[in-house]
């Protein structure tokens, strides 16, 4: 496990996602990378019910799975005020969420996932993911991991050079927004600048980056007004409790 960076790939006009994925995959192979299986990251969001009346956004729980960590379920509680609490649990956590349909209901329409091919090049792992929400193609997310380094500040230049090399796009010199210096509250209640790029990297960081990107894609959709709150009786949802590494991992929906 090492530092991972997510990079959305700007879609050029008039080209299909599959075409670009194919093109990038060929570039990677000619660079000397080897094809190493598939990957899947999915995200489902649960909204607290009943919604608060005072206009504040409801509390949301995002449940994510990452095929790189098949035995774990990642969940992030979003209070709506920008504060996030993350929890890593066994995959049985999915079943727990089913029991909580009284307080948290699933927003099925926003179930979003990124899946695609996985490449290895030296100590780099590169994943070319196509993002789909409700079977609709949304965009391309490139995940690049440098397994042997634990701190982004050390190896950002390496990752950047690598990204620029095979994506053929310009990647800014600054750290990605997720790793930017932020103001945090210390335990003593003081505000403090915190440089996240100097932290030891954790698997949760990967998942949080995915959530950040997924949220961006969803916002893009909600601008078109296609989202409405879930209403009516929630259909029971069954989730597989043992995500498998690879394309088949993740959630299986069976409607009764």
């Amino acid at each position: 496990m090492g530092v991972t960076v997510l990079q959305p790939y700007p879609m050029p006009e008039g080209k299909s996602g599959a075409h670009i994925i194919d093109y990038l995959g060929k570039r990677l192979l000619s660079l000397g990378a080897t094809h190493a299986g598939q990957f899947l990251v999915d995200c489902e969001t649960f909204i607290s019910t009943p919604q608060p009346h005072n206009g504040t956004p409801g509390r949301a729980v995002h449940v994510l799975h990452n095929s790189e960590y098949p035995a774990s379920t990642f969940s992030i509680i979003d209070s709506g005020t920008g504060k996030q609490v993350s929890l890593v649990a066994d995959s049985i956590f999915d079943l727990l969420m089913l029991k909580m349909t009284n307080t948290f209901t699933s927003k099925k329409q926003t179930k979003i996932e990124s899946r695609g091919a996985r490449f290895e090049y030296g100590d780099f792992v590169i994943k070319l993911g196509s993002v789909t929400m409700m079977e609709h193609f949304k965009g391309i997310l490139i995940e690049i991991e440098y397994k042997s380094c634990m701190i982004l500040a050390y190896c950002w230049e390496m990752i950047r050079e690598m990204l620029q090399g095979f994506l053929n796009i310009n990647v800014g010199k600054d750290f990605p927004t997720y790793f930017a210096t932020q103001t945090i509250m210390t335990a003593m209640g003081q505000q403090q600048l915190h440089a996240k790029h100097n932290d030891l990297y954790e698997p949760t960081d990967t998942v949080k980056q995915y959530l950040e990107q997924f949220t961006n894609y969803r916002k893009h959709v909600s601008m078109h007004g296609s989202l409405s709150g879930t209403s009516g009786i929630q259909q029971p949802v069954h989730m597989s409790s043992s995500p498998v590494m690879g394309a088949a991992g993740g959630l299986v929906l069976i409607r009764s």
Binding site: G32, G122, S148, C149, M150, Y154, E157, M158
Partner: protein, 293 residues
């Protein structure tokens, strides 16, 4: 033909008799019973001399009896030697030049090889080194355990590097060096000499019961390879303390393993690896491919 053979045999006999005579003269007397042995010696010599004279006469007679042969003798292939004397036609010259060149080359190469092998610092046996310098005590092998502790604590370590010393093999120490959040290295000592180095990633376990397993990351396997060659470079049984200090300083330069681009090509990645080689003197980073060009 028979006559010729007889003459040749006679010449051979003459030669061997002359030789025996001279050998006899060279041996001299045995030095005991002076008068008697002298007489015997002179008598023997006169006998041999007489034999030589008679044989000489015989040879002369035989030679006089020889006739000029009517036809040339057939001498096989050797006869051609006399016929072709022009150098160009024999094609001997280019072959000679070639073999001369070869011998010259062999001489040059063996001279260089000899010099190189003589300076070979990679040879690690103490006996070899003690040939040059008159017998030093074997201080580098049998050191008191406190010495290595003292030595490691004396090395002025940068704040980001920590050492953990323990002794799983009796008195010989193993130091686990953690360099910032970049890498861990286990240095196995034998006395004060460095015997083995294992390099692993920061997130990999490196404990005393598993000192030999290789890192699962390619970059650290490469760094370990380089660490071994540096270990041999810094090896010095006569000044072991200095060798350890310079080695640890070199190892500490890996703090910027991922941070610094290669000095030669100014790139970070070559073949999927960062610049893994650190120059032994200047500590500058290089890719493995760039370091020799």
């Amino acid at each position: 033909m028979d006559k010729l053979n007889c003459t040749l045999t006679a010449v051979k006999n003459l030669r061997s008799n002359v030789r025996q005579c001279f050998e006899h003269l060279a041996d001299g007397t045995d030095g005991e019973g002076v008068e008697e042995s002298r007489n015997k010696f002179v008598h023997d010599f006169q006998e041999k001399f007489g034999a030589i004279n008679s044989q000489l006469r015989e040879v002369e007679q035989l030679i006089n009896g020889l006739q000029v042969p009517p036809t040339a003798y057939s001498l096989g292939n050797t006869a051609y030697l006399a016929q072709e004397t022009s150098q160009d036609r024999q094609a001997l010259y280019p072959q000679l030049v070639n073999s001369y060149k070869w011998i010259d080359k062999v001489h040059d190469h063996s001279f260089l090889a000899f010099n190189n092998l003589n300076q070979n610092t990679l040879r690690r046996s103490y006996n070899y080194c003690s040939q040059k310098r008159p017998r030093l005590p074997f201080s580098s092998f049998n050191n008191d355990p406190d010495h290595i502790d003292k030595l490691l604590s004396e090395i002025n370590t940068p704040p980001h590097t920590s050492y953990r010393v323990f002794r799983p093999f009796g008195s010989n120490a193993v130091a686990i060096v953690t360099i910032s959040n970049v890498l861990k290295a286990a240095i196995v000592f034998k006395g004060v000499l460095i015997e083995w180095v294992t390099v692993k990633g920061y997130d990999e376990p490196l404990e005393q019961d598993d000192l030999w397993a290789e890192s699962r990351y390619e970059v650290f396997r490469k760094v370990q390879e380089h660490a071994h060659s540096a270990m041999l470079h810094f090896f010095s049984p006569t000044l072991p303390d200095l060798a350890v200090k310079s080695y640890v300083t070199w190892l500490n330069s890996h703090i910027k393993l991922f941070l610094e681009p290669c000095k030669r090509c100014s790139k970070y990645i070559a073949n999927g690896l960062p610049p893994t080689w650190r120059d032994l003197r200047t500590l500058e980073p290089f890719h493995e491919e760039c370091r020799n060009c």
